[in-house]
Amino acid sequence: MINLAARDIEHTLGKFIVTAMGVGMLLGIVLIMIGVYRGMVAEAEILLNDINADLWIVQENTMGPFAESSRVHEDLKNIIFVVDGIDKSEAMTFQNIQLPHEIKPVRVFAVGYDVYGTINPINKDRLIAGRVLKTNHYEIVVTDKTGFKLEDKIKLGRNFYTVVGITRNTVSSGGDPLVYISLKDAQELQFLYSNKEIHNNEARGVKNSESLMVNTVLATIKDGYDVNEVAQSIRKWQHKNVYTAQQQKDILTKNLIEKSSKQIGLFTAILVVVSTIIIALIIYTMTLEKMKEIAIMKLMGLPNSLIINMIIKETLLLGIFAFIFGNIFSHFTYDKFPKLVVLEIPDAWTLFGVIIVASILASFVGVKKVISADPAQAIGG
């Protein structure tokens, strides 16, 4: 049997391709929207994966250190270290700071860690220049996106810091570039008051011991121990909140990104609906243009199924071509976006399924027009 859909498309190939490209750009935006969400999840997990701790011990009744503020004493790491099943434990700080830069200040997320400790948050695979921190003071490792170079001097608080290393693709869950400083420096920046304020506090009888605080204590578990059991034991005896790596990921991805994901999800759904409506309108117009031929075919006695088959095939082909163009468009543009966009094959296949269903739904308007076409229109003027 003659493939009417293929013949019709061949006949108006240029118009069909331009139309498919237009719809394809919409679908490309859908893919990029999904990619933005994937990028947010990936960014949220970068720091967690690089630190690679099994347990996050934070202030009781908080979801720290990222979702909520958390303060614990630095020496908690020593108490945690002797808990049965703990292999390593270290204290860390996390804070947003603004680095002065000759063009414009750069907002970054600073990770403070014990330079001589056993858990190092800098993933050496991401280190593209220089080295990790080696001394307890006035050294900083920055992400390439901050624009700083090795040996640059950056004023933070009362002191100048020297850039000793540069990393790539290191961002916080909020999308800010990461920088790494020593725990001592970080504690000073976060907790140490100015001299005048210290004098003032002492005059009021307030002791300034807060510089020995940290935001979290991290721990890894020895082989053969159950992470949940060790976490439960710390919760019970230390009166702290303890999160496993997975729970911390869930806090970041499910809680922190949830609103963004809902917003992106809604935006994506609207775009899919708009694409479906546009495909339906295109098919409706294409069917209207063929009404005389359809009336003739019906008058000659061709069954509706043959004509409907043509309309559905054309709609599906439009959807498939638009999907291909959408993928090409998204792959050519995704790296031009300022935030990380992660295009994943399963997302593309899901969109393909959605587009096939949407195309079938969209073809109904054309099919309805075919069914209602009067063969008598073919005769007479």
Binding site: M1, M300, G301
Partner: protein, 237 residues
């Protein structure tokens, strides 16, 4: 029914509207058309030529009466078959005022579309289409698109398409209206030849006086009824 009768219409009535809006178009029309006969259907505009043609073609439902196509009664106060489209597909060929070939199909595909819908294999449908194109002296255009043909060539392709499903009846709606005198006569001669050689009954609606001498009989709608004239009668229109 006589085996030589291709179309039999008995007491056919067609009204449009109801009550005070009732418009009577055809009243108690009865006639028979034999196989191999070419009959011109004439009447002033709005008299119901196309309506009558479409009732015979099972496109418009009559109000009452009987229609026989060959041996089969297709209408007696209601359609006798649920699928009137199938009757059209198997028994009737249509030719229109313009060729109305499907623009995205080539000549051969236009002709083979209907037979293939009738479950004829692609190979057999193409063989028959090529025979028809040869018969109509246009076989060199088999793979051309209709936009590449002249008006006369397109109308010959339309005739080939109407013949492709071996119909017993051809219904033509002013097939020469868009053609100049020479081509109009050529087309009606061709229809005449087809009618006699392939034993097909042809009804052609026309306003074209030039083609009347080539028709066997002239059927005129007059006062909502049917009156027959011989083709050599003068002053019919």
């Amino acid at each position: 029914m006589n085996q030589q009768i291709a179309i039999k219409v008995k007491n056919l009535v067609k009204n449009f509207g109801k009550d005070e809006n009732l418009v009577k178009v055809i009243e108690n029309a009865s006639f028979e058309i034999k196989k191999g006969e070419v009959v011109a259907l004439i009447a002033p505009s709005g008299a119901g030529k196309t309506t009558l043609l479409m009732m015979i073609g099972c496109v418009i439902e009559p109000t009452s009466g009987e229609i026989w196509l060959g041996e089969d009664m297709v209408y007696k106060d209601k359609w006798m078959a649920k699928d009137t489209r199938r009757i059209r597909r198997e028994k009737i060929g249509f030719i229109f005022q313009a060729h109305y070939l499907i623009p995205f199909l080539n000549v051969l595909e236009n002709i083979t579309l209907l037979p293939q819908a009738n479950k004829v294999s692609e190979k057999d449908a193409q063989k028959k289409a090529m025979e028809l194109l040869k018969y109509l002296e246009i076989d060199d255009k088999a793979y051309n698109m209709s936009s590449q043909l002249s008006g006369g060539q397109n109308q010959r392709v339309a005739i080939a398409r109407a013949l492709a499903n071996n119909p017993e009846i051809i219904l033509a709606d002013e097939p020469t209206a868009a053609l100049d005198g020479e081509r109009a006569v050529s087309v009606i001669k061709m229809l005449k030849k087809i009618a006699s050689e392939q034993n097909v009954a042809i009804i052609t609606v026309t306003h074209d006086e030039r083609i009347l001498p080539y028709c066997d009989r002239i059927m005129k709608i007059q006062n909502r009824g049917i009156v027959f004239h011989d083709s050599d009668e003068k002053q019919i229109l």
